[in-house]
Symmetry: C2
Subunit: 466 residues, 2 copies
């Protein structure tokens, strides 16, 4: 199952896709065919609705049996009571991959669970692979294939894959990432996991050439033992971030009525993630903040963090966060010290964190830390007050002015993990983000430090395991 | 010292202010007089520089002794070696309040500490009250008085006061608050605390009619016992948020070389804050996130949180955060249940968190939770996907459409603490922020839950203490 293709490929790269439940009034059945047509899938989309006719300039087939070849994926958006018969039709038509977006199954209680078991029996009978029910399927930015209505930005190719149980959450997360300039390779929303689980998807993404890392939201494991095996295998090559809800009794009760998941005792998950090298996120914000540091190509050679800052307070807060997260702040290496003291005012204290204050030594100090072999990771904290940025003429505003020469820094960051924190006017944050698109930029000091520490822990664990 | 005016008033409301070190080249001595003139202080500003002449259309006095009445505050921006003589001149001129912005004293080590002690001796001799050195003084949005270069937004009147040891941090924090639509009554940056400490400033703000709460960044207490007494007194009436650096050995080393503070063992501070009812922030982000909930007028009557959401996952994550932070998620009150079930689709599970999904019941459910006497606080989580918002015609986009009628909700929120989380397109976030300017709006679910829990803990402690 963990080969280059474990049988899930048609979900992401169908030769043809039937949209069963296409319709002329608002809803998924209306929006998805339009979106696919816009994305160049028009000739590979087959709309199905008993009324027939035409929609969006494309034919509507009255029954799945009428749909011509090639078609290897069915997206089911019909009302709940019609799902079983639809599934039978799909099986008879010889289609083997199905995404059921319709909700109202196991997540609603015992009766719904019985209806879901009926679907499972049909799937078994026809040898179907099913994603869902109660989901919004997949997004593949590489070939611009999507089974849900997403923004254009969601189809910008990126290196991070997203797995979510819930459709709404999958969208929310995709959107949050895009907002931070993080783009996605593939998104999968699993819903009630009648058949396909996070384990198979993780295996698929493990061998997906477009994916460098995975971000996963889980309410409960489909199969705990298998998740351990899978995570252990995948995290050796690609980082997996996990946000797990149901950490507490009230959270567990909530997940049960949402996707019918059994969240289980949190300490079991905690040890599962720690054992396997999966990186646990503590919140939605964490999931975004952590990904940005992991998506850099650089991996730390050790735990030694160098901090350069224009504010002693921010330096102290970053130092606290680093120590708490298990990083080491070594004394400032002698080479760095010698470089920054030359031409520096007497009051400047050359330590680590390296608080350069308004000395003008920031670029020099930043470069020196990036170049020094005794520093494994760097946090660069720009703290120019908003009023100062606001007063600057536009032509004066350039990233080089604040960071020093950007190109050598970008080159060095390919080898040494770097995070930049800009505590300043939005104008300067955006300017620096645009100048260093490959380097994560934050607006407070603690999150990048925690992310760098998580990167080091992950790196250490996989190196020791190897 | 804790009367309506404990002698600090001239720092915030001077009748006249001397800027000693006014100059024609870039720097504080150049920018501050311009800023004060723009703000209508021209006739009350006296620039001092041995060169004399005129700057910005205002006279420059060659010596502080030449400055006419009324003048009751001196801002010192001269180079370090000139500070002692300047202080003597200020004392002789009969000015009793001084802000020393010049750096290079106790924060630089033993020699600097000796120079600072020299200043202290002069201050004692002339009975001076001194803020600083190594600070940027104060901002008072009420009378538009500032001793540093801040953005126009920083002078928008608000109800939160900011105390910071470091000037850069004070500015950064002020800017961060403004960015989130939180405006400030007074800002004080204390620097090395030669004389005036956080204790006296807290007492002053306690009785300041423009201030409802205080947000404080501290590297170490000037006087631990006195801070305990002061916090105990102040927090009974006004919440005090504290971000304390030097939590760890490396953070402590960093603060020592920054403002010369002795941070002390963190557990001592932890128990100090817990005892006194001060609210401890864990990060810069926290300091902003917490303030927004505390600035609402409503105080919780109990720990019972009601959650309404369009996403079961977000509901589960919020429930986990609530339980971890000590809040209670009661079963959905029967009255609320009856109201939301009417006309709702069968799949909708009427629980708490109340996940309404795409039922259209969001406004009704939100209103019912706000009105129910068995719910003490409400978190309302809007999860409309970005693509849906993006596709909506502009005229369709209104806060009422998403939240339900806004005015009754705003009225109810005056009595019951409410936080809104909008996991959606920036357009919708901004629209909702504008529609409910008095209600805190967040973009992820965990921070508002933590803030509501902190509000409840503070409220419980002061009620029990009373």
């Amino acid at each position: 199952m963990s080969g280059a293709d474990n049988g899930l490929r048609p979900f992401f790269e169908p030769r043809g896709v039937a949209i069963i439940g296409a319709r002329s009034s608002p809803g998924f059945g209306y929006g998805i065919p339009i979106r696919l047509k816009h994305l160049g899938w028009g000739e590979r989309v087959y709309q199905v609705n008993p009324r027939g006719g035409e929609l969006h300039g494309m034919p509507v087939y009255t029954d799945i049996s009428q749909v011509p070849d090639p078609v290897d994926l069915a997206v089911v958006i019909v009302p709940g009571p019609a799902v079983p018969a639809t599934l039978v039709g799909v099986g008879r038509r010889g289609i083997r991959h199905v995404i059921i977006e319709t909700a109202g199954f196991a997540e609603t209680g015992a009766e719904g669970r019985a209806r879901q078991n009926e679907l499972l029996a049909i799937a078994r009978e026809y040898g179907l692979r099913v994603i869902g029910p109660n989901c919004v399927g997949v997004v593949n930015s590489d070939n611009k294939f999507t089974t849900s209505e997403v923004m254009a930005e969601a189809l910008t190719p990126g290196r991070l894959a997203v797995i979510a149980q819930s459709g709404v959450f999958g969208h929310n997360l995709l959107d949050k990432y895009n907002e931070q300039g993080v783009y996605i390779s593939k998104t999968v929303t699993l819903g009630n996991r009648l058949d396909v689980t996070e384990n198979e998807v993780l295996d698929y993404l493990h061998h997906d050439a477009q994916t460098d890392m995975v971000s996963m939201y889980l309410e409960g494991a489909a199969d705990g033992r298998r998740l351990v095996e899978t995570l252990r295998r995948v995290t050796r090559d690609k980082p997996v971030l996990v946000l797990k809800s149901g950490r507490t009794p009230v959270g567990r009760a909530a997940t049960a009525s949402h996707t019918g998941s059994l969240s289980g005792e949190d300490r079991i998950y905690e040890s599962m993630f720690a054992q396997t090298g999966a990186v646990r996120a503590g919140s939605v914000t964490d999931l975004v903040d952590l990904a940005r540091v992991f998506l850099q190509p650089a991996r730390p050679k050790g735990p030694r963090l160098g901090i350069v800052t224009g504010s002693g307070s921010m330096g102290a807060l970053a130092a606290d966060a680093a120590f708490s997260a298990g990083l080491v702040l070594p004394p400032l290496p002698e080479r760095v010290r010698a470089r920054v003291k030359e031409g520096a005012p007497g009051w400047m204290n050359a330590a680590n964190p390296l608080d350069v204050g308004p000395s003008g030594q920031f670029p020099l100090a930043f470069r020196a830390l990036m170049e020094d072999p005794d520093i494994d990771m760097v946090l660069s904290v720009v703290t120019t007050p908003y009023a100062v940025v606001q007063a600057m003429p536009q032509e004066y505003l350039s990233a080089d002015r604040f960071l020093g020469e950007v190109e050598p820094i970008r080159a060095l960051a390919k080898e040494k993990p770097l995070a930049i924190c800009v505590l300043s006017h939005r104008k300067l944050v955006d300017l620096i983000k645009a100048a260093v698109p490959d380097i994560p930029v934050y607006t407070t000091p603690e999150p990048p430090v925690k992310a760098l520490a998580a990167l080091w822990r992950w790196q250490k664990q996989r190196t020791q395991a190897a």
